[in-house]
Symmetry: C3
Subunit: 324 residues, 3 copies
């Protein structure tokens, strides 16, 4: 990872992704200790600035920061001065002036985290910006696939060559899809987008992917089925009649789950709506890695914060001496 | 206390209650230290999951957890993915996956904390569920009575035989009443419910209590008058004309306070509405233990968390070495 | 500072202000350490009770408290029992009973922090009460002026004799103006209020100030232009046609900035609305100390908390030994 920030998977490149995943292994080990904490970021302050609410992602970052002994400052837009007419820039400069070392930024508009970097000396992590990117989600997805491959076939490895991964749903509006396509491709996987024409990006030029509107046609060939979240509040805009219709065409029904390849994996970034993207009982199959994705999210986010704030990759993850 | 969870006073039995109260004595002592903190739960994470808001109870649990050096994760429903259609189970499994050791759950529906135990490996503490139970409230009430008895008559003792305790108000809808009846009876007290027929449970079969609708008839015989909170927003449903009428019939007026037995105690779980359940000046009498209940709530909740997470009852409560 | 509380600048007197500013120097130095934290308030709990929302002020106090290793308890009115009909007094006594050492109180009504002192044994800090005072804002403003004077003319000094400071805007409704007038006058500065008649207090008797409605007439003579926040939601009540008119008459436009004295300073308590109180480009001039005010706010609030809770002024600010 070249810079001080993590705005896009593209900032990392293949080598950067591999570094983060290796570092996340250390934090997985830390999580198993009696005191799951290292002193690496003692005295540092990590601020979460969620201009768009997401309790799960915020808690994941905050837990990841606490594992590193960092202080956490939580800023949510709903109670902030933005409502009093303050500009985003002045809000950022205000938080910066209080002395923070990293800002974790989520915003409904694409590009906000990048703009934030101009207004602070802190490291900026994109925690989801509009329809642009959500790089830590892609990292935890890669980590989870790598972990599952390791369990079924030996040591974890980040060469995803030969893997075929289907990303199913509203690709067009999904920052998760965008980051995952980038990351999975960098690691060598073949990505197939499964969506109706209306839910694909207007142009796929430059995207290293295939696309189809027919889930059933590709289902048996997928090593991973990655189901995107459908935003019920947007259903009308999806040009789909309703959620039942969505489930029928793109949901991972019980019947479809039965036609998956033997060791195929099921993933979802959460929160999932059972009965829409996935049948209730399918979400509980052993092949479903959904809660494992959440668990790994903490390890990967600790790795990202460590990498950005604690020094060069590969540094030793120290023991907690029990007094933190 | 047998299990890993605290869902009901019935889980504890008399011996379990006595253990918690003795342990709470230790935390009362800790509170008087220059650094009121012990390292017992260092590295553990206690999550508060309040699907129904209660700032006071949440802060009490969080303070109790911090006294044990635990990390605290606050989850409130209003900003959560439940609004996006995620199931309660998936929310719980998500929080669990981030790595928490205890979940403190409050929910408007009875039985939710019990269901939560199936979805997490963490210890679950019921912080109030619907009209079912609120066991830590009953424990702090018992602790407060025991403490007051100790002050007026020697050593604290948990044998409440011979004590007559009146619980006044909307017993029917009160989880506090339910837990208190159980706990007080287990310790030997005689409980008298004071409520109009409409605010008593449909059947009292199996409840070790007497009941009356006439507060004045029993007032002079009570050792403790325990006033339940009246939920103003429910007044219409109470089949009472209005809050003034409630105050006239069931409020602890100044006049009634004058007719209490000499050493009678006044209790209320809070938040109290002066002028409704209790006359403003009565709330400030020395006999009123309301703020003491709050104070003891922290000790009792520390005791519960210690008991569930730190090992067998009776373990030594270590000194903080000043570096926490 | 005589008492246990900080309710008004008048509690401090000139000597008290000078003590706080000197102590703030220590915390400015602490902020530059690898671990910007001292153990002075370890084991103490600082509660923020913001009955009126202000994310920036709350975060500033919480950061200041964490620098001292204090625990922080956040209480916000919106989710509190006040909505259930509990009195302010009972809310305060409840928080007090949980064991807190300081209460930082913000409230829309003047005098609330003073009343709170009767209900708690904790130290009370006024974080803004109605149209009364906001003493820590005045302290950070004094600190910022002192720092800037030190940079341009040698050692920081708190004798503001000969300085002319213009406070511009809605003085009448501003607690910031009230505290700043007191503090700046105590340090020897000459204060000029710049506001239309309708936005001045009904009587200036006893205020050691001059007043004018004509910003342009005094602009060139000011050493500091202090712009008050205009509350857009109150614009109608300001008897001004609209915000554009306000900007034209009282805003620090680019043209006016060009007519400032050479070393004049520009200040604003934030959040500022660019284009109303200040032209967008003027806010970014080197003369503008706005973000420096925010930064200094943390130092000054650490100094206040240290002073109130850690003992006599001048006590050594200890080294963090790296295990906190």
């Amino acid at each position: 990872m070249s810079g001080r920030h993590l705005l896009s998977v593209a900032d990392l490149g293949r080598q950067g992704i591999e570094e983060i995943l290796r570092l996340a292994d250390s934090f997985k080990e830390v999580a198993g200790r009696p005191i799951p904490r290292v002193p690496a970021l003692r005295g540092k302050t990590v601020a979460t600035l969620f201009f768009e609410a997401s309790t799960r992602t915020r808690l994941s970052f905050e837990t990841a920061a606490k594992r590193l002994s960092a202080d956490v400052m939580s800023f949510s837009a709903s109670t902030s001065s933005l409502e009093k007419g303050e500009s985003l820039r002045d809000t950022i400069e205000t938080i910066d002036a209080m002395g923070v070392d990293a800002m974790i930024v989520r915003h409904r508009s694409s590009g906000v985290p990048a703009r934030v970097t101009a207004w602070t000396s802190a490291s900026v992590v994109n925690a989801g910006d509009g329809q642009h990117e959500h790089p830590t989600q892609a990292l935890l997805d890669c980590y989870t696939i790598r972990e599952a491959l390791g369990e079924s076939g030996g040591r974890p490895q980040t060469d995803f060559s030969g893997l075929r991964i289907g990303i199913v749903g509203d690709v067009r509006h999904s920052r998760v899809a965008r980051s995952d396509v980038l990351a999975l491709s960098l690691l060598g996987a073949e990505v197939v987008l499964v969506a109706p024409r209306t839910l694909l990006p207007p142009s796929l030029e430059g995207w290293p992917v295939k696309a189809t509107a027919d889930l059933d046609a590709v289902l048996g060939e997928l090593d991973v089925v990655y189901l995107l979240r459908i935003q019920a509040e947007r259903a009308g805009r999806l040009l789909l009649p309703d959620l039942d219709e969505y489930h029928a065409r793109f949901g991972l029904t019980r019947e479809r789950a039965g036609r998956l390849a033997e060791r195929a994996l099921i993933m979802h970034p959460g929160p999932m709506i059972r009965g829409v993207e996935i049948a209730p009982e399918v979400a509980d199959l052993p092949a479903s890695l959904v809660t494992r994705q959440v668990r790994n999210g903490v390890f990967v986010r600790s790795a990202v914060l460590f990498h950005l704030l604690a020094g060069p990759a590969g540094a030793v993850v120290g023991e907690e001496d029990g007094d933190g």
